[in-house]
Amino acid sequence: MIDDKETIDNLSTLDPELIESFISEAKEHLNAIEDDFLNLEKQKDNPDRALMDKVFRAIHSVKGAAGFLDLGNMTGLAHVMETLLSRIRAGEIRPESEYIDALLAGVDLLTAMLDDIQHSNKVDITSVHGRLSYLLDHEPSTSPTIQKSSAEFAADHVKETSVLDKSGADFGSTVRIHVDILDNLMVQAGELVLVRNQHLLSMDDSDPVPRSVAHRLDLVTSELQETIISTRMQPIGKIFGKFPRIVRELGKKLGKQIEIAISGSESELDKTIIESLADPMTHIIRNCCGHGIETPEERVRAGKPKSGHIMLTAYHEAGRVNIEISDDGRGIDPEIIRKKVLEKALKTESELDLMSDKDILHLILLPGVTSADEASDVSGRGVGMDVVRTGIEKLGGSFDLESTVGEGTTIHLRLPLTLAIIPSLIVTSGGNMFAIPQISLVELLCLYDEDLKTKIECTDDQEVYRLRDRLLPMVRLSEVLARPMPFTREVRAEITEKYRKEQEAALQEYINAGGEKNGEIFSQSCNFAVVKAGNSRFGLIVDQIQGTEEIVVKPMHWAVKSLSIYSGATIMGSGKCALILDVEGIARHTGIMLDVLIDKDAEEIDRAAKDEDLQNALLFRYGAKEQFAMVLPLIRRIEPISMSDVELIDEREFITIDGTSTRVLRLDHALTVSPVVEREEMFLILPKHKRPVGLLISGIIDIEETPAQLNVESYMEDGLLGTNIIRDSMTLFIDIYRLVEIIEPEWFADQRMGLLSTAGLPPETAKQILLLEDDSFFRRLIRGYLEADGYKVTTAEDGRVGLDRLDESEFDLIVSDLEMPVMDGWDFLKHVRQGTHQQDIPAMALTSLDTDKDRKRAMECGFDHYEVKLDRERFLTTVAELLDLEKSKT
C-alpha cells in the first residue's frame, strides 16, 4: 500500500477542483445507494435488476475515480465491494442481511475516508475489508448461525449502531424539501410583497387601527420573505474555503510568498449562485497570484513586506452580496493595457485617447487582453477576465475593477441573492412585454440609418438580412401577433411589400424635407434578435429590447394551449403578466421553416453544435513549444518520477512503477514535436493500456473541459486524435493506443492486414457496423478506429436505441458495450437473438469488465466474441476476423 505522504504529494499535483468534484460525486453515489442496499435486502429472493445495476455502477464509479486519483485504500475497499456485488448480481449470492451489513459498513468507511481524503490511505480498512473478503471466500449461507460465527466483526457492529444513533438524532433538525416547493413559496412570498406595497400605498394614514394592522402586515411580510429566501441559502465559505489551498500551491509554484485573509465567509447566497460562482472566483484568485503579487525580491525593492497579501471579503449590502478581492501587488498599469489593446487592434488610438484610466482598465475584460508580459501556467492568456465577467453577468451580477500602479488591485463583485428559473430576454411589441428564453437566443442586433436600407433586402415574399455573408430570414413580431392564421406565401409577400414601401416612403420624405442638404441624419433604428429554431435561424424584429430578466415559467392555460407561438407565461417584476414566445412555434407559424431559405452552412454548424459533447482533458507539456492533451477516460493515473530512476536497456527506457518495469514513451519518438524539456522531476501518464507503458511529460497544466469534437483538418499526424484550441493555444490530442503501436510495432503482429477485405473497396460495399457505447468519448474513439479501417459505423448510446437502429437498417456486425443505462449489452443481445430480424448477426462485446463471470454471461447471451477495452490492434483484428468468418459462411 502506498504510504500517506505519497498520496498527499500526488493529490496536490492534481487540480483541487478535480478532487473536490470527485469527493462530491462519490458522496452523492454513496448517499444514494444506502437506501438501495436496504431495499435489496427486503427483496432478497428476487432482487430488482435495475436497482442492482444502479448500486453496482455507483460503486464501480467510485472505484474508478479513486483509482485515477491513486487513493489505494478506497480503491481496494471499493473493489472488494464491487466483487461481492457482482456475485449478488449474478444471482450466486442472495442479498442476505450479513452481506448488506458488510456492504453498508463499507459505504460508511468510504464516506469517512472521503471526509478526510488527504489521510484516506492512513485509515485502517482491514476489518471491513477482511469482513467483505471473508464473505466472498466463504460459501453463502442463509442460516443465521453463520452470522454469529462472524463474531470477530462484532466491533464493527458496535460502531455501526453508534452511527445509526447519530443519524437518528439528525432527523430532528432537518427536513428534505423539494426545490419546487421552495420555488413556489418564493413566488407566493413575492406576491405578498406586492400586495403589501399596494396596501401601504392605498392606506389612509389618519386612522390608527388600520395603520397598525398595515404596519404589522408589513413586518410579517418582510420576515416571511426573508425566511423563505434563506431556505435556499448557503454560506459563501463553501467556495472561499478552498482558496487558501490554491494560494499556497500557486505561491509555491511561482516562488512567491502569498498570504490570504478571508472575512465574511458566513455571508449567504442562493445555492445556484454559489455553484456558478466557484469558477469565476478561482480565476480571479489565480490572477491575483499570477499577475498581482510580485516576487519577494521585487517586493523588497519596492519597499513592501516580503510576502504579498490577498484580502477576500464578502458582505451584504442593499439586498446584494458584495465580494471584494484585493491584493497589494503591482497593480495594473493602464499604459500596458493601452499597448496591448492597440497591438491587438481592438480599439483605435483616438478611441483610447477619449477614455479615462478607469475605462482603460476595464478593457482588460476584453478577450485576448492581459496585463502579463508572458503567459504562464497560472494565468496570462487573457481569457480569464473575460470568462469571469461573463460568468458574473450571467448570474445577474456586476463586476468592477480598481487598480493603482504599485499599490494593488481591487475587484468588486456585486451579486443578487437569489435566482429565478430561466434567464430570458424581455422585448416589447405594441406596448406588451414578451420574453424570449435565452436558450433560443443567438445574438442581438440593432440596425441604424443606412444599414436599414442596405442590409435588409427583400426576396419576393421575405425580408432577409445579410449577417456575416449568410442570409437570415426576418420576421416581424408585430405582424406575427396581428395574424392568428399561419402565414401563407401571399401573406408573407404582403408584409414584405408593406415594409418595403414604408421604408421607401420614409426615405422619400426625408429627401423631400431636404434633410440631406441640411446635414440632418436620416435616423431610424431597428432592433432584432437572432434566434434559433431547430436547425434554422431567423431574425425577430421587435419594437424595443428591454434587457434580460430571470423569469419563473408558468404553463399556458389549457384553453389557449394550442396557440403555437407561446411556450408559457410569466409574471414580471411590475406584477404584469408577460407571454413567453416559442421561437419554433413562430418559425412554423410564419412558414419560414418550410422554405429553402435555411442555408446549408448554418444547418451544418448547428448540427455540430448539437452534437458537441464536452469531455475532460488533461493538459500537459512535453517540449518547449506544444501544448498536449489527453482525455481523462484514457488515463489510469499520473505518477511523479525522477529521471535518475529511468534505466536505459537496449536504447529503450524503463522505470519501475508498482514493481513493474514500465516502458517510458517519448512523444518526439513518434511525432514531429519538440524534444522534451528534461528536468529531474518529471511525470509519467499511465494510460489505460494492457501493456505497462507510461508517457513521459514535463508538466501538468490543468484539467479543462473541451468539446469532444476535434479538428482533424488543419493539422494531423499519425498518433494524434486531432487538435483543438484550448486556452488560446493549439492543443494536440494524443491517441495513446496508436502511439504505442508506432513506438513498439513488434508488439503487434501484422495479422490484421491480411483480413482487411474491406479496405479500399468503394463505400457502398463497405461493411456496416452497429456500435453501442454509452460513453461519448469511447463512442467517438472506437468509431474513429473502425472508420479508419474502412467500415461504415452507426452508433447508439444504449441497447434500446441499438434495437431501433437495427430495425432501421441492415448491419454486418454488432460491437457492444455491456454496462449501459436504459438497456445494457446483455439484454440488448438477448433481444437481438430472440428477434426475427437479423438475429444471426455476429456480435462482439467490448467492455471494461474483465472477469470470467462477465465473459461467460456475455457468451450465454449470444455474443460471439469478448474483448476488453481497449487494445486497438486486437480489437480491429477481431472485427476483421468476425466479418471474414461471416463472409465465408455465406
Binding site: E191, N432, A559, V560, L563, A569, K576, C577
Partner: protein, 171 residues
C-alpha cells in the same frame, strides 16, 4: 312522473347566486363556484386567442385566464371602466380563469324550482342572449322586477375551446 316527484323533494332547496350586470341585464353564477371578485382589470392580451379571451391577469402570483363575458353572451365588447370587475372561479371549476363583467351586483337567493331551464319560450331575452344562454348551460329566473339569467360556470371554458376548434376548421 319520476321527474316531477324529484322536483317536489327538493322544492325547499334554496340556491345562492353571485349576480352581476352586463349591458344592463342581470346575470348570475352559482356562488359556490366563485372564489373571489377582484377589481384588478390590468390584463395582458394573448394574441391569436379567440376574441372572447381577454388575456392573462395576475392575481397574487397566480395567472388567470380572463374571458370577456360580453362577447360570450353575444354583446359588443366594451372598454373596462371604474365599475368593471372580474369574477374568479374556484380551482375545481377548471384551470384558473375568471370573467370580466360590467359591474357586480347583490347575492340573490332563489328557490331552485323558480329557475326555468327553458330556452325558446322566453321571448323576453334579446336575440343574441337567447342564442347563447343554452350554450352556457343557463337557466332563467324571474325576480320581482327583472329576469336573472344564470350561467353554468363550468361550461364557460368549453365555449372557448369549442370556438377554437371552430376557427381551426374554417382554415
Amino acid at each position: 312522473m319520476q321527474a316531477a316527484k324529484e322536483e317536489e323533494a327538493v322544492e325547499a332547496q334554496k340556491l345562492q347566486f353571485c349576480t352581476f350586470r352586463i349591458s344592463g341585464r342581470r346575470f348570475g353564477v352559482d356562488i359556490l363556484d366563485v372564489k373571489e371578485i377582484n377589481p384588478e382589470v390590468d390584463f395582458t392580451p394573448i394574441f391569436h386567442a379567440p376574441e372572447e379571451v381577454k388575456g392573462y391577469v395576475n392575481i397574487r402570483g397566480q395567472i388567470y385566464l380572463l374571458l370577456d363575458l360580453r362577447l360570450i353572451l353575444g354583446f359588443e365588447s366594451k372598454k373596462v371602466d371604474k365599475l368593471s370587475r372580474i369574477v374568479l372561479f374556484k380551482p375545481e371549476v377548471g384551470d384558473p380563469f375568471g370573467v370580466l363583467v360590467d359591474s357586480i351586483d347583490d347575492i340573490e337567493t332563489v328557490d331552485e324550482d323558480q329557475i326555468e331551464n327553458r330556452r325558446k319560450e322566453d321571448r323576453e331575452l334579446p336575440e343574441g342572449v337567447e342564442r347563447r344562454v343554452f350554450d352556457i348551460g343557463g337557466g332563467v329566473c324571474k325576480l320581482e322586477d327583472e329576469l336573472l339569467i344564470i350561467a353554468n360556470s363550468r361550461k364557460l371554458l368549453n365555449i372557448i375551446s369549442n370556438l377554437k376548434a371552430h376557427s381551426q376548421e374554417s382554415i
